[in-house]
């Protein structure tokens, strides 16, 4: 009885070593690659957010200028009509 218990325990120990030995873990270089990539993602997210804001501002500016152009064209037509 004692012998079979010992065998089981020994088998478990051997198996656990085998299990631990077969698993592959990321090395330092690979971890650095992951870290660099994740940092680049964060930077890109910030940059994209800035670009989105910039574009929104430009779209607003364009809309204002288009209104200004429309007013200038209307003014031109009005002046032409007043000077006739």
């Amino acid at each position: 009885m004692l012998k079979s218990i010992r065998t089981i325990i020994l088998s478990m120990i051997v198996l656990s070593f085998l299990f631990a030995g077969c698993t592959r873990y990321a090395n330092e270089e690979e971890l650095k690659t992951l870290d660099d990539t994740q940092t680049a993602v964060k930077k890109a997210e910030t940059k994209l957010s800035d670009l989105t804001k910039e574009r929104r501002n430009l779209v607003t500016k364009l809309a204002d200028l288009q209104t200004e152009l429309k007013k200038a064209e209307e003014e031109k037509a009005a002046v032409e009509s007043r000077l006739k």
Binding site: A26, A44, K47, K61, L62, Q66, V79, L83
Partner: protein
Amino acid sequence: MKNTIITLLVLTFFSLGFSQDKVNYEEEYMPKLQKAQEDLARLESEMATANSQISGTNDQITETQKKIDQTWEEIYQLVGSDKAGVDKFGKDLDALDGKVRSFGALPAEELYKRRAELDQFEAELNTFRTNNISALTEYLNKIERIDQRIKSVRSSIVVPYVTSYVVKKGDSLWKISGKKDIYDDPFKWTDIYKANKETISSWQNKYNAVLKEGQKEADLIYPEQEFTIPR
């Protein structure tokens, strides 16, 4: 034997414990790296799109600004001037507006005395009207506002309310009553007479006292007499 087993068990646990701090290549590292790479690729693509849109919008802004400038150039040509000329017109018009405003703030008596200046303002405004630049909506409206202001000031001018009058040489009750700032109606001379009957008589008595019989006058008025003008 027992000791060996215990040692091995301890080692195994340590080994498992250390392995938990490490990143499992297949199950943890690769999915994380893959996701980060996919995110980066997606973000780079979105940034490229955003940059391209920004560039396009900038082009549209430049183009629109050019059209605005061009349209205004055409407007300046229509009125026979340029930007500097139009700006000067605006400044001169503002100066006239300022003069009219200051004039309107004068006390009523001063306004009455200087009322002829309103005609000068009106003449100046008409000069602005003859300039083609006045066809621009901004200045057209400004001219209209100044015109309204001149009219409003003119209508606010009232004849000063005179309550007393000192007789001058050559005056008569008829003349005094007919003065614009008195009654503007010579037929109301009796009102002045009635209100100043005592003054007139007392002055008359004083003069009659030194006159001979036959030279005595009744109801004459004399310079320096001060009359009350009833209202």
